[in-house]
Point group: C2
Chain length 155, copies 2
DNA sequence: GATATTTAAGTGTATATGCTCTTATCATGA
DNA sequence: TCATGATAAGAGCATATACACTTAAATATC
């Protein structure tokens, strides 16, 4: 790349500011790291943190339909659909036609419950480690900001 | 799922606490939402926020090798490798053998720079919207917490 | 009651992510 | 110089993510 082009619109300093400031970049990076930490911690349970989250949500929202569950989880319906399919293949959740036959209802199986129970203490340990690493106060603040961020992007 | 099993290890209330508290879940959810918002904002530029981030990083770290870049970005080397490959296919970055012939050196092409410049104002607008939606003060706090979180998980 | 509209979910396609294993190259020491 | 170990990156595999489009079922409208 030639020198005159390097200065078209932004300098390396501008660029560095973008990089440091970018909400998306920082959030995604943090999410990658935290995901990795939890995945390692949960490995003995055979679940990844995403799967543990889905099982937990399915337990909480027993017999919910896919669309509503996706909405609650803040994820795309089709993403959830595929992720649930994988859990169904492993026998961890049950997917059944609803009364409204367009709907698919989600529930945990016995095995799903067992997997969740096996993973729970591992989850708890890593969660404690992260919270204490960050400090209780900062952690509370961050959780609250993340929720606010979610609300701010609701529309 | 039978009733006696529902009480094995945790109640729905415990489960709700896990869900609300889980650092990984909240971070991933926030990352999904923010990613979506930026992807929509950047659409006219033909870049996704992840790609914009990579171009920016490549610009900042001109001629860096893949492994080091991955380290700086806090992502898996193999992930970065593949993502860069996609940008190379589109002619946005150049991947060249280094002096050490095991290494691959990354640099922006003219087109990559142009794409970045086209995306920058769109990025800026969404960034501003999110920051002001959250409030300058909370945003600063969150950025700092995310950086700390990263450091706490360094090892 | 037949047709049009709305709604729930699935499919096709593409990117993002990271683990494990492999390959190519470099550096080191006998 | 050759064997050995270290290092950089790629390949194979699997999951996570979401957009655009399609399909099937329920609802509304005439």
């Amino acid at each position: 790349m030639s020198d005159e082009n390097k200065c078209c619109l932004f300098s390396p300093e501008d660029c560095a500011r973008i990089s440091r400031a970018c909400v998306a970049f920082q959030l995604r990076r943090a999410a990658r790291k935290v995901t990795k930490a939890f995945d390692e911690a949960l490995r003995p349970s055979g679940l990844k943190i995403t799967q543990f989250s889905l099982l937990t949500a399915s337990f909480l929202q027993e017999n919910q339909n896919v669309g509503r569950l996706a909405e609650l989880l803040g994820m795309d319906r089709t993403t959830l659909s595929r992720n649930l399919k994988l859990l169904e293949n492993r026998g961890l959740v049950k997917l059944e036609e609803g009364e409204d036959r367009r709907e698919v209802r989600v529930s945990l199986t016995e095995e799903g419950l067992e997997a969740m129970e096996k993973a729970a203490p591992l989850w708890h340990q890593m969660q404690k480690q992260i919270v204490s690493g960050l400090g209780e106060f900062r952690w509370e603040a961050m959780m609250s900001e993340l929720r606010l961020l979610g609300k701010a992007l609701k529309k």
